[in-house]
Amino acid sequence: MRWAPLAVGLAVLAALVPVAEARTTNLKTHSSAPQGVLSRGERIYVLAYNFLPRRICKKKVRFTLTDAAGKKYRLLRRRPSFKSRVEGELYGYVGDVPSTAAPGEGSLRSKQKCRAGRASGRVKTFIPGAANPQVASLSANDGVSGLKTRFAFEITARARVAIRIDYEFMPGDWREVSVPLNGAYLTKPRLYAFDWRANVDGPVPAGHYRATVETRAYRRYYGEEPTVFHKKTEDFYIAERVGTGTLTEVVDGQVDGGGRLVVPDKVRNDIRVFGATGTLLATFAPPLSAPKDVAFSPDDSTIYVADSGNFRIAKVDRSGNMTGSFGSAGSGPGQFSSSQGPQGVAATAANGGRIYVVDGDNARIQAFDPNGELKSTITGGGLNDPFSPAIAPDGTIWVADAGSNKLLHFSPEGMTLGEIALPRPFGVDVDRAGRLIYADNQQRLAAVLDSGGVQSAVVGQSFLSGPSGVAAAGLAGDFYVLDGTADQVFRFRVP
């Protein structure tokens, strides 16, 4: 009986002091990666619950990362939440994986320790041996608005990958417009292909775009700046299709002073006018045969049509009525090749108005006044099978010569000023800034040369079938490419 008071005392003490308890906290790392894979430099987010209630323990939870070499790294200390549905929940960032952590299997521990109890959890981790993943290569195809365009990229190690798309609104003014891939976890170091439908809620405008592929750490929510390990960028162009389904066979066209694209249809023997947004505004059907090209009088009131099937230049007013014509079949002065007819036409207001007509088989360019009177003929400079003429703002003449495979440059008087050798140039035009735009039928591309003759852009290589003509538009680098093989018209913008 002498021990009885002591036993009672111990019982009272046991009732007063909370029983020490040990809890498992169900620790998980969470991300789009497989459970437990943590790259070096990456942020670690965890989810755990079942920590000790606040009435028992107010201690923060300690997180410790142990690497494959057994080295321990102390991470952040966090306080669990008891407000949410799950008792003692802890969700969020607990620190970064040290860049010096040894690769291989390690562990992540959570521990909340106080006198009255202990809550802990542990998960296995794996730190890949390779260095932070790199983007080894990236290529981006040009595409058409609203359709898929392909990016191909290679990563050196498993990585979370994001693809961003930027749009060059004005020269040098890049704006992010889309993030079509946002931290997808790619497990194998190999080449990947990603198809982006050129949409941002709807078809994107024609222009210069930039794809950026980056490997990065997991981010907790949209808006948080992620840690980017490595990135690569590649520029590409998106074109808008003009007049889809309304053209049967196109060769070349021209933009008038009002910004409307005028395209002759070689099979339907009519002329179609499109607005700046690509809508069909009008169709003219004067008596034409296989029209190939158009040009405009300085006041835009008359359309000169290379009416090749009738071996003449037809003059058509803006209502579509034929107002006159000049030329006939033959090889004499003022005549056009009896096999092909006039191939192309360009007009300028200089010297009271000149209409330059390319006479392909006769290997010459003839200059007429607005009344159809022959004023001069250009024959030199290696002209072989000229296809398309263009007048530069300085009055000089550019011709795409498919026979000699050159772009030829002449003064208004017919002197040769220069030439550019190309695989097979079919179309040429010069915009108001003096930039030369040409279409190469063999390489299936269009390209822009700045006023210094330096190539500033190559477009459409991935989808053009056989470009045959180009037409410059506006002041901001817009131009049309007429694809004579696919019989489609595309609008590009090179800021």
Partner: protein
């Protein structure tokens, strides 16, 4: 696949009886009082399933992390300013029923103004466990502070997501839960008790590259006037053009502004644009922003 054998569909909270006895697979449904596993699928063989519609209400700011946040952390806004919102732990569209998050602004006077809605961005699947919600969605988007009738002073943003579920084979969407979050501590700039200026008769003609074309408007008060220009994608996605077209004091009455379709001497690309005009009077009150669309064609 399954087919609906017989239903007693009601959009009121209550019970819906669906017989799935002949079919194998069907998606989940809610329990009360909190949502569980929205969008999760499980196998059901030969059972008579009783669906409970309604009742479930998600607690405000459900989850242990931010459900609504302003990018950049700005707290003071001028009417017309964009508020770039991001959030976490919202629900994705369930069974093709749209579940956008409606955003409202509650001003100092207690009046609520609808600011539109923002939608889900993508899902995060954490694999937390069967007892918790599996599919959380991030949301993101931009809303604008309205002007005019908004009382300046402290304000809060309220985000509400009505979670709707489509009853199979019925095309009826029923609301099964409601999630709400509040973001307090915002401030709308401007003095209290002053009538804001009004903008009327804003005329913005179409124009062409290389040509100038004036725009005009009528203002009820003199004040500092700003005109912002945005380029619009086909879908309406805007790209703000900087600098502002106008950022200077203007008198009351009819005003005009010459535009030449250039920025910094460079021609603007052809396309669709939007003008937004607002005025701040001498007392500091802001007008409601007024917007008009116009096009720039090739010159």
């Amino acid at each position: 696949m399954f087919a609906l054998q017989k239903t007693n569909v009601s959009t009121e909270p209550g019970e819906v009886q669906v017989d799935f006895t002949q079919f194998g697979t069907y998606a989940r449904f809610l329990g009360a009082p909190q949502p569980v596993g929205v969008g999760r699928a499980f196998r059901l063989t030969g059972a008579l399933l009783v669906l409970v519609i309604g009742l479930a209400t998600v607690p405000p700011a459900h989850g242990a992390y931010e459900t609504l946040k302003i990018q950049g952390g700005t707290k003071e806004f001028v009417p017309g300013d964009p508020i770039r919102l991001v959030g976490h732990s919202w629900f994705g569209p369930i069974s093709n029923c749209k579940n956008r998050v409606a955003i409202r602004l509650k001003d100092k006077g207690g009046k609520q103004h609808s600011l539109g809605s923002i939608g889900p961005l993508h899902t995060n699947t954490f694999g937390i466990g069967s007892q918790s919600v599996k599919n959380f969605w991030d949301i993101g988007g931009t809303v604008r502070v309205p002007g005019g009738s908004v009382t300046p002073g402290t304000a809060s943003l309220i985000a509400i997501q009505r979670i709707k579920f489509r009853i199979p084979f019925t095309s009826i969407c029923v609301q099964v839960a409601r999630k709400q979050s509040r973001l307090s501590g915002l401030r709308i700039a401007g003095p209290e008790g002053d009538a804001p200026p009004e903008v009327t008769d804003l005329i913005v003609p179409d124009m062409r590259q290389g040509r100038s074309s004036p725009m005009s408007w009528r203002s009820s008060e003199a004040g500092h006037t700003t005109v912002m220009l945005s380029f619009l994608f086909t879908s309406g996605h805007p790209l703000e053009v900087s600098p502002l077209l106008l950022d200077e004091p203007r008198p009351a009455g009819t005003n005009t502004l010459d535009r030449d379709a250039t920025v910094g001497g460079k021609p603007l690309p052809a396309g669709r644009y939007r003008i937004e005009l607002r005025i701040r009077d001498s007392a500091g009150s802001f007008s409601a922003p007024v917007r008009r669309e116009f096009t720039i064609g090739f010159g």
